[in-house]
């Protein structure tokens, strides 16, 4: 699984209220949620995000509420992968569960400039900055999480398990 695209940057402790404010949570429609992705950080970001494919964040990305709407919003706004210094645990689970790869990579936030082109090799755990010509090693994902991502998310995995039980 290899993803390539332009990086949008955000800082430390971006909470899920910033990713998708509470007033939009009554909706479960991905396209409606995507129209407000990162709006809590800056009202201009939902429109700007459309030109980027990779989100590069600082520490503790996705802290706060368990709302899966946050991942839905980012994914349907066109984000292919989130690379952060560290993740809050529920966001990390939700991201993998919905098939949006989330990689922890020390140093990524300080060394990447907004708009840099990144190439991410999920299986190898490598984050290559094509614009600046450096490569960082990300924290490898355990095999079964890679499998969930390759299947497209946790439900596909559940389907496989249930199928196996007949």
């Amino acid at each position: 699984m290899i993803f390539e695209g332009k990086a949008l940057k955000c800082g430390d402790n971006v909470d899920t209220d910033a990713i998708i404010p509470g007033r939009y949570l009554v909706s479960t429609r991905p396209e409606e949620l995507a129209a407000h992705a990162l709006e809590g950080l800056d009202p201009e970001l939902p429109a700007k995000l459309r030109d980027f494919e990779i989100l590069v964040a600082g520490r503790n990305f996705g802290c706060g509420s368990s709302r899966e709407h946050a991942v839905l919003a980012l994914k349907h706004a066109g984000v292919k992968c989130v690379v952060a210094e560290s993740f809050a645990r529920i966001f990390f689970r939700n991201s993998v569960n919905l098939g949006l790869p989330a990689l922890e990579c020390g140093g990524i936030s300080s060394r990447t400039m907004e708009g840099d082109r990144l190439r991410i090799n999920l299986r190898e755990g490598l984050v290559e900055n094509l614009s600046q010509g450096f490569t960082l090693k990300a924290k490898p994902l355990p095999g079964f999480l890679l499998k969930i991502l390759e299947l497209g998310g946790l439900l596909a995995y559940v389907e496989e398990r249930l199928g196996g039980e007949g």
Binding site: D17, S65, E68, S86, L98
Partner: protein, 421 residues
């Protein structure tokens, strides 16, 4: 064999292994699943994408309508309708409808939460149930769907942090001040992925209500859960909630291993406030006395239990909320509302000029019933003060105890409750 923490023992039991180590990935059998009216609709959607949608143990699911209740707009009403019809279609009997209360109050009160259980809830404050010696973790909607379909969920065994609190809390210093103090020390990700175990004489001295305030906010330091050893007070609570004796009291071994330990004396604490935009940005209430407020909120899964209402009413009795300040009181559940009525607390609030709203989450997450305008400030007993959480991104939220919120409502500025009571 090395000593084990409560968390490790519960996860070993739930995954059918003699013992587990921090860092292990386990597939564990889930004893209880909770979804609410914000996370539940996505869980239903997820389950229905399966070729054969099913719930392995319908009696292990509790659905609570609490976030947008009573429905504030058509979309909320549709979400409620979806959950009601889902419950009847899949044979789920435990649906708590509009007005029953906040999920994290309703589940213990109705006797669903038992010591030793593995509970997953599609709500980040599911960690509240750790006050009963259960291992309770917040997850997303798809995790909840997987747990319902398979009866199991993958989990990483967390490291444990020990918070040992000696001494005795001073007058008008509460368990909210205690957890805010811990947050200030540990930071918003200082306990990332950990199970935080609270122990010591100051914790033992607290009521179960007070303990729930502490475990509720474990997630604000990044923790997977907060947990406490059950004791006689726990057993009494469970008996009153009608829980029968089919549970195990799990305690940590004396030689259990903790990745980190924090120890302090409760007697040294004072009323604290978390200033925006972080629950870990903690300062003494007395240092913020120049901060004027527009709204005072007494509510949420953190601090709207009977003990909290009694404390606030004790300060407000016979007095008026400062002109220009809106005070909103939201009992955490219908049962608490009724008890507060019987004790005359609701009368005190209304006479003081407060608005009493129906049990539920209210404006805590910016949904409805007291959202903030640009430039406004709210002092609140809730758990999060992130930018934009309660309405306008240009509003500010200060987190404090029920005593500090009531005192501040009287003066119109952030006030150490010991100044007025």
């Amino acid at each position: 064999m090395a000593g084990r923490t409560i968390a490790e023992k519960i996860l070993a039991r739930a995954s059918g292994q003699p013992s587990v180590e921090p860092g292990d990935f386990v597939e564990a059998e889930v004893d209880l699943v909770m979804v609410n009216d914000i996370t539940g609709p996505l869980t239903v959607k997820a389950l229905k994408t399966l070729s054969k949608p099913r719930i392995r143990n319908p009696e292990r699911l509790v659905i609570v309508l609490d976030h947008q209740t009573p429905a504030d707009r058509v979309q909320s009403a549709e979400n409620h309708r979806l959950l009601r019809s889902f419950a009847s279609e899949f044979g789920v009997k435990a649906l708590y409808d509009v007005g029953e209360g906040v999920c994290h109050q309703v589940l213990p009160e109705e006797g669903y939460v038992k010591p030793g259980m593995l509970i997953v809830g599609a709500d980040s404050h599911t960690c509240t149930y750790g006050a009963f010696g259960a291992f309770a973790v917040g997850v997303g909607s798809t995790d909840a769907a997987a747990a319902l379909a398979l009866g199991k969920l993958w989990l990483k065994v967390p490291e444990s942090m020990l918070v040992r609190v000696t001494g005795k809390l001073g007058r008008l210093v509460t368990s909210k001040d205690l957890i805010l103090y811990v947050l200030g020390r540990v930071g918003v990700e200082g306990a990332n992925y950990m199970s935080v175990e609270f122990k010591g004489e100051a914790i033992e001295a607290l009521s179960v209500d007070g303990r729930m305030t502490i475990t509720n906010m474990a997630v604000e330091m990044g923790a997977k859960t907060g947990i406490m050893e059950p004791d006689d007070k726990t057993l009494q609570y469970l008996a009153e909630a009608g829980v029968k004796g089919d549970f195990t009291l799990v305690k940590s071994d004396p030689e259990a291993q903790y990745a980190e330990t924090l120890e302090f004396d409760a007697g040294e604490l004072e009323p604290l406030v978390a200033a925006p935009p972080s629950p870990a940005n903690v300062k003494p209430a007395g240092e913020l006395s120049s901060v004027e407020i527009d709204q005072a909120l007494l509510g949420s899964c953190t601090n709207a239990r009977l003990e909290d209402l009694r404390l606030a009413a004790g300060i407000l009795k016979g007095r008026r909320v400062k002109k220009g300040v809106r005070m909103i009181v939201i009992p955490a559940s219908r049962r608490i509302y009724l008890k507060a009525l019987e004790e005359g607390l609701i009368q005190v609030f209304v006479e003081a000029g407060a608005v009493v709203a129906p049990p539920g989450c209210g404006p805590c997450l910016g949904g409805h019933m007291g959202v903030l305008a640009e430039g406004e400030r709210c002092i609140s007993t809730t758990n999060r003060n992130f930018t934009g959480r309660m309405g306008s991104p240009k509003a500010e939220i200060y987190l404090a105890s029920p005593a500090t919120v009531a005192a501040s409502a009287l003066t119109g500025r952030i006030t150490d409750p010991r100044e007025v009571a």
